[in-house]
Amino acid sequence: MTDPGSVALLAWLLPAGAFVLLSVAFPLRRSGRPAAYVSILFSAAALGGALLAWRLSSHDAFTRLLWEWLPAESGPLATVGVLADSDSTLMLILVAGVSFLVQVYSLGYLADEPPASLGRYYTYQSLFAFSMMGLVLAPNFVQLFIGWELVGLCSYLLIGYWYQRPEAARAAVKAFWVTKAGDVGLLIGIVLLGRQAGTFDFVEILRLVDAHALPLAGLGVITFCIYLGAVGKSAQFPLHVWLPDAMEGPTPVSALIHAATMVTAGVYLLTRTVWLFQLTPGVLALVGWVGAFTALLAATLACVQSDIKRVLAYSTVSQLGYMFLGVGTGAYVSGVFHLVTHAFFKALLFLGSGSVIHAVHHAYHATHSHEDAQDMRNMGGLKQYLPVTFWLMLIATLAIAGIPPFSGFFSKDEILAAAFARGREYPLYYLFYAMGVVAAFLTAFYMARLMAMTFLGQNRTGERERGHLHEAPWIMTGPLLVLGILSAVGGALNLPEFLGGHAALERWLEPVMARGVALFGLEMPHGRTELYLIGGAVLVGVVGLVAGFRATLGRRILPAHDAPPDTGFALVLNRKYYIDELYDRVVVRPLVWLSRVVLWKGVDQGVVDDAAVNGTARLSRGLGWLGSRLQTGQVGVYVVLFLVGALWVLSAVAR
């Protein structure tokens, strides 16, 4: 039990234990808080295991197989187990850590839920932790895909946690279908790759790639299909539409699944198979394109949303775009680095917004008002009521806006610098860089807008409600504090050398990423250029923040029920560029038409019901009717028939 593989395996199986326990022992599940304690306990143990696995792990990859699944003559087609290397242990800690913090936080956030619902919530949470760990630790594509689908299922279940609300149920179904569109691509890619390579195992395929034994023909299709899976799961354009709707789930779920862990699975998948994507630079360029475009598109949308969680949702889409831009540029470590720092500050932002919503919701609840507790137009001036939340969210805001020394600055700057550096080879990347900078400006702008609308200015919650606003309990602010510290100092993970750092993350991830870096090397800018780039990035962030604060505080904001409807470009932005409407016309309605007219009325009712089922019945009845005509009931007819038969038999015998 001293190799990191076994420890990681243990950490992976602990949440599964909690899930099975809560599923089977249903009195425990229905008891609510005890179920939550069980889940949190197992999750804490998993976090301990993850940290231990990291302490034990060296630069080597450890594989620990649980059992051989789908055995074949030439070795098993798929195994279930763990592959503990630097990339997966890092993700393991991230998943276990954020999962633990969110589970603790949920105890406060969902305190008013009925016990049975709370037990159900924690059962799903345990299942999610198990599934996500299974995904990141997967030693082969098959287990990765199973984990991939399981986290999708958990996402569906948790978005639809308040399934009595039709919006939540619809959002859950939408998230399921849209990501499924990408998952089909992933499955096709995996199967094609398995056929080409003869194995699904990461290490085996890597060996083939190293020996130049993997046929390159058609590899572009394979990597493109795998990338499709990442597009769906990580909400990249054009499959980004599900993530904002997923905000119908409880806020801690948004923080865990739809900000920190599951949606970053796409980035993780690309870095995990970086040696494969290396061989197809065209697809990698596409990854960069889509990433940069998504970052910019989502950032513009985040600037006009009035629902606090939707701002953060679009912000997540935008930041995921950054990560993909990093990967597409060849700066894999930067992509993972941004993944990690983003997990910290975005989880903090979501949990902080949860604390705000909690306060406003309780205020409205106390006065029996039916105003929207998530609408920022109903907030404002909350700083004096929620000081801890305010200061911690401010840290996250500075981090995401790229203000040094907070974590987001380092990771975002690395990605932009990499795009700039790549531009020397391919001038197209200068465009990506420019898009990234504009998106960075917009990021700072909408975050300042969010902070100003929520915490500064006049309070718009309402006269009677104001007295009920209060800070969240310590069980919610505690996790916020931990994430706040991580958001503030997370940049130290990969402190660049000119600041006296050792680029620790880069060294840590070297064994996994080195192959990619070697094939698609990147000369990062140094010296003066580097300083100019950093200066530019910081300037953009500061200007964005100032502009955001000024623009928001400088005008009068009306509470939601007094606000006039949007007009002009604001309306276009508010309707999300009409992408949802486009999908409705192009995909949803034709599908519904096809299902209703062709498949339901045509195939099912026409062919199956009428022709096959009722047709058989009609045929037998017709034949029976014909036969029954012989039964006249007339004795004379029978006698004649008998006579004819007898004569026929006699004539046959006599011959």
Partner: protein, 99 residues
């Protein structure tokens, strides 16, 4: 008068009986037709017994007559019962078993 004459008579009688069974609409008429056919058989049997080496045919004829009596008694009883229930003895109307 050889065997052939008797056999011809029996055949003619049988054909008349059969004709009666097929064409008669009255149930009693049908029973009468059946009687004719049975007696045609009796003539056959007796004729073969007279001209052949064995007298088995005679014995058979006695049996047939006995059974015919029983059959007619049963048949007429049925006809009376049918008449009581249906108020008719016309065979064409007795088509309860029509499909």
């Amino acid at each position: 008068m050889g065997l052939q004459a008797y056999l011809t008579l029996a055949a003619v009688l049988f054909a008349i009986g059969l004709f009666g069974v097929i064409t008669r609409r009255n149930t009693i008429g049908i029973l009468l037709g059946i009687e004719l056919m049975l007696n045609a058989v009796n003539i056959n049997l007796v004729a073969f017994a007279r001209f052949g080496p064995s007298v088995v045919g005679m014995v058979f004829t006695v049996f047939t007559i006995c059974i015919t009596v029983a059959e007619v008694a049963l048949g007429l009883a049925l006809v009376i019962l049918i008449f009581r229930v249906r108020r008719t003895v016309v065979a064409d109307h007795l088509d309860l078993l029509r499909g």
